[in-house]
């Protein structure tokens, strides 16, 4: 009977064997958590960060490149420190900093290296390298910093910084890890995927103390890092820096476009800063200072700031008017029976003269004819239909929508349509008399400097445009994004442009911008003035040159500089001359513009208007419909949405509107 117990015993052995086999199968085959990639601590994955792509200007001049820097790493358990004070002195840090850095490193790991000092320059590295031999536990790791050949284009190029916590969490595929760098704004952000290159991975073996023990499998699984693609811009670095120098001590924008291709030649956002300060080990300090700066140097004005186009918008009104046939090149209007004011100027008997003298009543009448072009009897209904037709025509110029430039946070602007006014007044409860401010580029219209530069390019091209873009060539093959090669038509026929261009030439030769004309270059331009309750008017000028074969289209916005001819036009014309002939003849004008300091005129958003003024304004709107013109130019900070005040807008304003003091037209 006892013999049968052998089966129990063998069964028990077999049971243990089966349990162990199952367990081994689970551990080795099924359970992924023990695979080489995920948990092996003897094989370390070392990521090689490639150099970011470099950025060039239109003539192949380098704008952005990478400088090798050195991160100093510390392994706390290996540190033998006899003379801490000397060590601190060499590195230029305080004993206090040293202690806190060591504590932080120790908290992370005693045996693994952690970051001690970031981004030491080559010079620093060379000077301390020898001395570091005396201190064990420290090692250097190569890294790189963005470096800019010129202190310009800060907002266009953008900056690169450590990936934020939010970005880490939001990324769809886990590419970035803590401590990685990522383009945060400008070109660096939009072209992040092209610029960052391909990271390399090396598998190396290390022992239990983290000591390097050679490549894993002789590097069979390793991948090489591939440097990022170089980007070729249409920017002209020399002109850019010249434009920068003209915009010193001013708040505003310059956008210059090559009309035939849509390439951006120059883009100034003033005030600006040296991009190198955000590519250094003092990033956080410098960034905080920029963010605190009341003039908002980080705000990329050319694409983000919103203004009313003012008189520059009359160009589009004239073009649409001609195209829709409501006027002919020979149409003339007088100041009679017109609610909008004007200044003293010769009679405007043609479109060209209307443009050259920027006559407000002229474009009031053009707009009126556009709105009432249909044959609907009811003026409310006619206005509604007319506005939508007008809206669609204007929209083809890129107004009220994103152009699609390769820069982040482009502001859409605002181009009102029927629905927009219905929200305030109710359907068919408004008509032309409520919206006529649009005729001269005021009212609810909002544009960006970029859009107006594009309008200049459209006129230069006589009817079409290519989406303005900074990067015109990716990589060695200089691939251009297909959307930048697509020609956008405005639907206005080329012959309709001639009277308008004639008027623009007149504006520069003898009209509102005559003081800044350039000898030997035919420039067509148009001034604009954006009224501003908070300070002096914003000065606007758009132009293109040469008229016969346009090579540059430009928009200049100078905040609180007064009329368009006072600051914007001279600056624009100087830049045009610089670009076309590589030199500037009118040295006196150049010097005056460079020295012009408008910073004191700029009212900062932080500066509060007097409380009484605020309350007065409200009272006026409520009690006196006289001043409650919804379309009156209001002082508004760039970027803020248009303040909607339906209560005020519903007032019947036409009859009581005083003539001649609402709009300046220069």
């Amino acid at each position: 009977m006892l013999e049968s117990r052998r089966f129990v015993i063998i069964g028990f052995f077999a049971l243990v064997g089966v349990i162990y086999l199952l367990r081994l199968f689970y551990l080795q085959v099924l359970d992924e958590s023990y695979s080489i990639e995920s948990s092996s601590n003897s094989i370390k994955r070392v990521t090689e960060i490639p150099f970011r792509g470099q950025i060039y200007d239109r003539y192949g001049k380098l704008i952005v490149y990478n400088t090798p820097v050195y991160d100093l790493l510390v392994t706390p358990s290996k540190v033998r420190m006899d003379d801490t004070l000397r060590f601190c002195k060499v590195l230029g840090i305080e004993k206090r900093d040293f202690d806190s850095l060591m504590t932080a490193a120790g908290n992370y790991s005693r045996v693994k290296p952690s970051l001690f000092l970031r981004q030491l320059s080559k010079e620093d590295f060379a000077s301390i390298q020898d001395i570091m031999v005396d201190y064990s536990g420290f090692e250097f790791a190569k890294s790189s910093l963005r470096t800019y050949t010129a202190p310009t284009l800060a907002n266009t190029l953008g900056y690169v910084s450590e990936v934020t916590k939010g970005q880490l969490e939001r990324q769809e595929e886990p590419y970035y890890r803590q401590g990685d760098y990522i383009g945060q704004s400008g070109v660096e952000k939009i072209y992040e995927n092209e610029l960052r290159g391909k990271r390399g991975t090396k598998f190396v073996m290390q022992n239990v103390n983290g000591v390097y023990k050679g490549p894993w499998k002789n590097g069979e699984l390793d991948t090489m890092a591939v440097a990022g693609e170089n980007l070729h811009t249409g920017l002209d670095l020399e002109v850019q820096q010249y434009a920068d120098s003209l915009m010193v001590n001013k708040v505003g924008s310059v956008v210059a476009i090559e009309p035939k291709t849509g390439q951006i030649i120059s883009m100034v956002s003033a005030p600006t800063y040296d991009p190198n300060i955000l590519a250094s080990r003092y990033f956080s300090k410098n960034f905080a200072a920029l963010a605190r700066n009341p003039y908002k140097p980080l705000f990329n004005r050319p694409v983000m700031a919103s203004y009313r186009p003012g008189s520059t918008f009359k160009l589009i009104q004239a073009l649409i008017g001609l195209q829709e046939g409501v006027i002919t090149p020979g149409s003339g209007f007088t100041h009679a029976n017109c609610p909008v004011g004007c200044h003293n100027h010769p009679a405007t008997s043609t479109v060209a003269l209307g443009v050259a003298h920027s006559c407000n009543p002229y474009f009031y009448n053009v707009f009126r004819r556009l709105i009432y072009k249909n044959n609907i009897k009811n003026t409310f209904r006619a206005s509604a239909v007319g506005l939508d037709a007008w809206h669609d025509d204007i929209a083809k110029f890129g107004i009220g929508q994103r152009l699609g430039i390769d820069l982040p946070s482009e502001y859409k602007g605002n181009l009102p349509n029927k629905k927009y006014y219905d929200r305030f007044y109710g359907e068919y409860r408004w008509k032309f008399s409520n919206i006529y401010s649009l005729s001269i580029g005021e009212g609810e219209l909002l544009i960006t400097p970029l859009k107006m530069a594009n309008v200049a390019a459209i006129i230069a091209n006589r009817g079409y445009f290519y989406t303005p873009h900074v990067i015109h060539g990716i990589g060695d093959k200089r691939t251009v994004k297909p959307e930048f090669l697509e020609r956008h038509e405005t639907g206005v026929e080329p012959h309709n442009f001639e009277p308008v261009i004639e008027g623009m030439i007149g504006a520069v030769e003898a009209g509102t911008a005559r003081r800044s004309r350039v000898e030997g270059i035919s420039i067509a331009g148009k001034t604009g003035t954006s009224q501003n309750k908070r300070g002096d008017d914003h000065s606007i000028f758009i132009a293109f040159a040469p008229v016969e074969d346009p090579k540059i289209a430009i928009a200049v916005f100078v905040e609180n500089a007064g009329a368009g001819g006072s600051a914007a036009a001279p600056i624009a014309n100087l830049i045009i001359e610089k670009y076309l002939s590589r030199k500037v003849t009118n040295k006196a004008l150049e010097e005056r513009m460079m020295k012009l300091d408008l910073m004191s005129k700029v009212i900062l958003p932080t500066q509060k208007k007097p409380a009484s003024a605020d309350s007065t304004k409200k009272k006026t709107e409520e009690t006196k419909p006289v001043n409650g013109d919804p379309n009156s130019p209001e002082n508004r900070r760039p970027g803020t949405p248009h303040p909607n005040n339906p209560a005020a807008m519903r007032k019947p304003v036409v009859a009581t509107l005083p003539k001649g003091n609402q709009q300046k037209a220069l």
Binding site: L2, E3, R5, R6, V8, I9, I10, F13, A14, V16, G17, I19, Y20, L21, R23, L24, F25, L27, Q28, V29, D31, S33, Y34, S35, I36, S39, S40, N41, S42, I43, M205, Q206, N207, V208, N209, K213, G214, W216, K217
Partner: protein
Amino acid sequence: MAESKPITKNVDWMVVLIYIACLAIGWLNIYAAVYNPEAHTSMFDLSNNAGKQLMWIGTAALLIVCILVIDYKFYETFSFVIYAVVIFLLVVVLFAGSNINGSRSWIKLGSFSLQPAEFSKLAISLAISKYLSDPAISLTRKLKDYYPIMGIIALPAFLILLSNETGSMLVFASFAIVLYREGMPGFIPAIGIIGAALLIITLLFVKWYIAGAIIVIAGLVIWLMPVMTRRRGGLWATIIIAIGMIGIVFGVDFFMNNVLQKHQRGRIMVLLDPDSDPRGIGWNVIQSKIAIGSGGLTGKGFLQGTQTKFDFVPEQSTDFIFCTVGEEHGFLGTAIVVFLFIALISRLVVLAERQRSRFARVYGYCVAGIIFFHFLVNVGMTIGLMPVIGIPLPFFSYGGSSLWSFSVLLFIFLKIDAQRPFTLSRA
């Protein structure tokens, strides 16, 4: 006349082949464990464990030849003498032993050292076999027949305990297998297994739940029990068993806190939750599991292991040699090793059962039990199923004493088995 027949004809070649396979695989893995990719370690260099192990294998071969040459009756006749010699060595080691790794259990003779505790297994096996070879001894009926066995085991166990080598002592639990085969009532090992299981379960779950579960199960057992069994005392037996189990559940705390030493308690806790102390006691278990787990199905390849090579796994060539197998040869390698062991011990049981003398059978079971227990605990701890107890994997782990003692243990049985046709049955 019959005994002049060459031993090669009658020796069990299957066991010999498994033995040789184990030695070969073990030696290659020891070499892999000590292999240094930077210095191209030689397999035959006596300065490293692989070279030394080769020397131990060579000497073990000499020992085996001696064992096979010596008359088989010698072992039975001199059982108690061998036992006495080992006891003597165990006493000597207490006073003259060298301290290695905190246990005073090594006798140093010149450049090499010997661990008498390793040979206590052999001594006890021979002594128990000799004692049980008396046909009058019955483990089924007479309780007093157990006392000498207890004594045979307790004396060396006590001496080993004094020299602080607990791991070797636990191996004596393997004698439960042979005692069970020779008539020990089945409930005794059952109680042991159930007790251990309850200990683990108690540490994992809330005590009251377990107590509730036991009561429910006991109720079910009583309810399903044939009426006759219930009347004959089944009812009370079940109730007493249930109460006993609940007593164990609540006694675990006392056992854990007052009976076990701190490091022993730690090993059990780590078994349940290796992450409770990842840098301390749990380190070995986690690293061992990573090494084995990272091997995958086919392993990283011979000499390509990284976890074992770069000191993540401690004691790589001795107690944790199984990790090297797992890492470099994957599941295929570990499965082969498991098969080798199960085949070996099952074969030993088969051989034991065909013996004509009770001495030979008992001894065979002793050998199978000891090898099984080492396998159970050693492999179990590397895959996180057993607490970390430092005992070697037979024939695989580096170490002269262990290799010698297992070889001697095994080949004495093979010698006895080879003489079986000429042995008269006495059992």
